[in-house]
């Protein structure tokens, strides 16, 4: 006779939830990446795809939320199971917001397409890479239960913040010198700000991952540079 394994069903359902979340993370990350790529390469078609893909992302988020509620109702999870399902439910919301921010970047891509760049775009792609690194690291930390990787992802947020401030200062100077580029300049500042916010959502994800793994409430800021030594601007 086959051995009864009461954990089998719970483990399979949690695995399914993890997969769904990973898929959502992949698509939310892709929305930001493609939105930014469309902006840098003036690709209206790709930008439209990102904007149109948002509904699917919203649907997936709701599906994950439903699955989490059903899981809680059916299994009344405790301890790490409970922390994991709670983390998944919260992380889905942050990922959905990240997807929305990707759409915002894509909208600027549509707006700016066909116009010459006011400057070569270097910092924004770098911010996009760092964001992707943070997101990938956080999701890996979640799947592997790796505390250090989650903390490491939080630390990258400092670099993104520095770059955002750099873009802001640079564009401010350029707009002061040449007011005709104000529209493009403010658009690029907003895109940088959007990427910075997307990265903030990743730090929320990392906090959830740390709680799911350790059971201790963690604040992402404690894994970043001390406030005084960050490249703080006076805004």
């Amino acid at each position: 006779m086959k051995d009864l394994n009461v954990r089998q069903t719970i483990d399979a359902e949690l695995e399914d939830l993890r997969r769904s979340l990973l898929s959502l993370a992949g698509q939310a990350g892709q929305a930001v990446k493609n939105g930014l790529w469309a902006l840098c390469n003036q690709d209206r078609i790709l930008a439209r795809e990102v904007i149109d893909g948002d509904d699917r992302l919203d649907r997936q988020t709701l599906e994950i939320d439903d699955k989490c509620l059903l899981f809680i109702a059916r299994f009344q999870p405790m301890a790490q199971d409970l922390r994991t399902v709670s983390a998944i439910s919260h992380m889905a919301v942050d990922l959905e917001r990240i997807g929305d921010l990707g759409v915002n970047v894509a909208k600027f891509a549509v707006k700016l397409a066909g116009k010459p760049f006011v400057k070569p775009l270097v910092d924004l792609p770098r911010m996009g890479e760092l964001f992707q690194e943070m997101l990938d690291g956080t999701m890996r930390a979640f799947i592997n239960g790796d505390v250090d990787e989650a903390k490491g992802a939080c630390a990258l947020d400092d670099d993104i913040d520095d770059l955002e401030r750099q873009v802001f200062r640079e564009m401010l100077l350029m707009m002061m010198e040449n007011p005709r580029i104000i529209e493009e300049g403010t658009a690029l500042i907003t895109v940088a700000r959007t990427l910075e916010r997307a990265a903030d959502h990743v730090t929320n994800l990392a906090e959830r991952v740390l709680y799911a793994i350790t059971g201790e409430v963690a604040s992402a800021s404690s894994f970043r540079r001390p406030r005084g030594s960050r490249d703080d601007d006076g805004r």
Partner: protein
């Protein structure tokens, strides 16, 4: 503010002849709070509960070593009045076990045993106890009916009324809802929440969600030992011991 400790056990062992059922139990049970004991079958949680009012005295081969302090007094000390102790530490069992008598007689039984004969006093105690057990409104018009005519959930609340009629300070509950349907269970759980305002409650339950719902503190027993104790909220969300984690997430037990 740290709650007052009602019961404190120190290095408490329980032996059934050559078999050691409990090993070096150290636990502090706070006053006017609900403490839940969880653990797999045979882990010693019910045996432990029965040590707290010396119910194990009825088992000839049972022996308790170490200390069980109730308000600082060792209840296994020389000269302990066990009858008085059981009045102070009442018990409710797994299956409702009313006497085959009327509802009124069930509740009045204990106070009568302790010498109260005045009819009016007894009536006051019966009503107060039935109210305390949230049963009064359901039975006030049929106090002379047989207790066994009540439903299972009502019978269990009658047993709680019977237990509190002698004004105990501690209520021990050994899986008090395991024989009840979900609605009757919910009523008992709600009652436990109210009871803790007046009594110290220690409850053994197999239902971890029940422990999570009604208790303030939880202790996890395994193989006659306490693996972990702590505030219920912490124990069920972030247990510190891997064995607790494994048990409450259904990996064994």
């Amino acid at each position: 503010m740290t709650p007052k400790i009602k019961i404190q056990t120190t290095a408490m062992d329980l032996w059934y002849d050559q078999f050691q059922a409990l090993k070096a139990i150290d636990i502090a049970i706070p006053e006017r709070a609900v403490t839940a004991f969880i653990g797999p079958s045979g882990c010693g949680k019910s045996s432990f509960l029965r040590c707290l009012n010396r119910m194990n005295d009825f088992i000839p081969a049972a022996r308790v070593d170490g200390q069980v302090l109730l308000d600082g007094r060792n209840i296994y000390g020389a000269g302990e009045d066990v009858i008085a102790l059981r009045r102070q530490v009442g018990m409710v069992f797994q299956r409702p076990n009313p006497f085959p008598a009327s509802i009124w007689d069930n509740v009045a039984y204990g106070p009568r045993l302790h010498g109260i004969t005045n009819r009016r006093t007894l009536e006051g105690i019966v009503e107060g106890s039935l109210r305390g057990a949230a049963l009064w409104d359901e039975v006030k018009d049929k106090l002379r009916s047989p207790a066994l005519s009540l439903s299972g959930g009502q019978q269990q609340r009658l047993c709680i009324a019977r237990a509190i009629a002698v004004e105990p300070e501690v209520l021990l509950m050994d899986e008090p809802t395991s024989a009840l349907d979900p609605m009757a269970t919910a009523r008992i759980e709600e009652l436990v929440r109210i009871l803790k305002e007046h009594f110290t409650v220690a409850i053994v339950t197999h239902n971890m969600q029940q422990a999570a719902r009604i208790s303030d503190e939880t202790a996890f027993f395994l193989n006659g030992e306490i693996v972990e104790t702590g505030p219920t909220q912490r124990l069920f969300t972030s247990p510190r011991d891997g064995r607790t984690e494994d048990y409450i997430t259904g990996r064994f037990g």
